[in-house]
Assembly symmetry: C2
Homo-oligomer: 345 residues x 2
Amino acid sequence: MNKSKQPTIKEIAKRLKISTSTVSRALNNHPSIGLVTTMRVKKLAEELNYEPNRTAIFFKQRKTFTIGVILPSLSEAFFSAAISEIENYANSKNYTVILGQSLDDPERELKIINTMKTHRVDGIILSSAKNTREFDYIDVLKNAGIPIVFFDCVPDIPNINAIVSNLKTGMLQAIDTFVSCGHQSIAFINGPGHLPASKEREGAFIKGLTNNNIPINRDYIVYTDLSEQGNEDAIIKLVNLIDRPSAVVSFNDYVTLDAMNAVRKKGLIVNQDIYFISYANYPIWKYMENPPMASIEQLPGEQGAKASQMLFDLIDINVEGDSDDKSAIQGQKIVLESKLVNQHL
Amino acid sequence: MNKSKQPTIKEIAKRLKISTSTVSRALNNHPSIGLVTTMRVKKLAEELNYEPNRTAIFFKQRKTFTIGVILPSLSEAFFSAAISEIENYANSKNYTVILGQSLDDPERELKIINTMKTHRVDGIILSSAKNTREFDYIDVLKNAGIPIVFFDCVPDIPNINAIVSNLKTGMLQAIDTFVSCGHQSIAFINGPGHLPASKEREGAFIKGLTNNNIPINRDYIVYTDLSEQGNEDAIIKLVNLIDRPSAVVSFNDYVTLDAMNAVRKKGLIVNQDIYFISYANYPIWKYMENPPMASIEQLPGEQGAKASQMLFDLIDINVEGDSDDKSAIQGQKIVLESKLVNQHL
DNA sequence: CTGTTAGCGCCTTCAA
DNA sequence: TTGAAGGCGCTAACAG
């Protein structure tokens, strides 16, 4: 009933009239301890319901067996899928995950990073807020010896560890799909221009059109800040063009959702007057009466798993090689392919 | 560059030729320390980039300033909303949140609880897996001095701390709404019979019909195990009845999604041949061309906030009153109202 | 106002 | 194969 009666190694030692070091060693299966003593210790530990005090171990080992994961938002399906895999991986290594939502606010993001730093996490996985521009924390963390792995939204900075998805393949497939369905006026709602992910998408978009001998029409490329209003404004701009496009690739499925709503309000019919393809392959599509023609799967689960794997490699190196051979793995980037998934239209 | 050079309180003491306790006190703004020394200490700490070693503090204080949150799934909008608020609340108290997804698997749930226990979290907020039947861990945690607050899915056990939502009000409103739109054959897709939440809903359903002088038709109450298949089977059973109901209340929005898909496959038209109302007020409805007529808002954010508040009250009591006055607050239940939200049909 | 001392629970040399 | 002793970084009596 009383919480203070948690048995310790000392208690066991006293009862068994042996030293604490012997108990410690027995509990950790140290080879130099006699089988009998080991058994006796373990038996009593069992009876007493002994559990090692992790906080003491953390302290002693200078490790917390905890990793931090910072994401813009848990409610986006992409991120909840990613974190599930991260959690799985971490648990399999007997690590715990602590969580932070930046809500795409750079200040909040920084605050979370600092909290995690003071909590001495052993490593961090981060999908940056969309409009973070300052990345000084990277050096701070490096100095603190905390490895960090980026994924999804990765800053354009040399020598960082990251998992990124190849946005190009998906875009090219999207355009080919549109073209093969007879579309020639294809537009693109891109995200904020400063994001590497936006640049990559835009390059691929242009490439895709060129591949299909479609001239580039600058009016067909619009931008959104990813807010609901921004998304609506973007699609409205396209819809109001004299030569309204018949097909739209958009930055991601959330943009598409808002765009579809706006389009309907204008009296147009989705999948008849105008067609969509976007990134993320949002699971809700299967419940929509008029989903996009296709969606580009970005494999959040795999990204999460790979990111975890990379992070644990870095953590292990940190522990073993106390030297600088950690630089060996520093600045690694893994690229995952994206691929188009057709919806059942 | 080297991680081992983290300055400690000792280092500061040595440089300033004062004792470590003075440094410690100065850093913690202890009133009995001279202003000058305090300033000198703080200045040097700043210069040295000193940061307290939390693991040492955790160890010393026998607290981790960490709470555990266990949820069936992060991808459900209800839970991601709840956890956002929990996180906010915890952060405002300088606590960190560690996270676990049970995926509605009782074994996994138990494993997470144990991990959190060995990690010595200061408290736990738990929305139980739908089919957990063993609650022995409640006593285990109590013995370990770890308070626990349930929310959303709360076991039917006396003397537990919980936040629950009043499912009755919402159900009565739902039925009144249906009736006032002319519906007389109203059916109900309930969740697993063993859940308290199912019993409460069913009681209210019957009450609602009675209030409106509608006779109870047992065929109009069906059950699902909440799997996609179960959801489909349930609605199909209703749709195949000779006197097919024109209105359906369902356990939650996810059930409704599957039901709508199944109904459409049968050639029926939602919001014309058959109408829906369900629990949860899933944010995606605003993007659907045919959302349910209404949805019962369960205020996940508020539930999360209240749960956090209750948990921190328990934690504080644990710390201050080392005696049993914790029983004073033991077994508290807070009920939040649910209310119907009409969709823009 | 400040220093001394002791100890949280565990692990790990070093010595026997 | 075992014990004794020391220390991780910090806080908190108890003394001055």
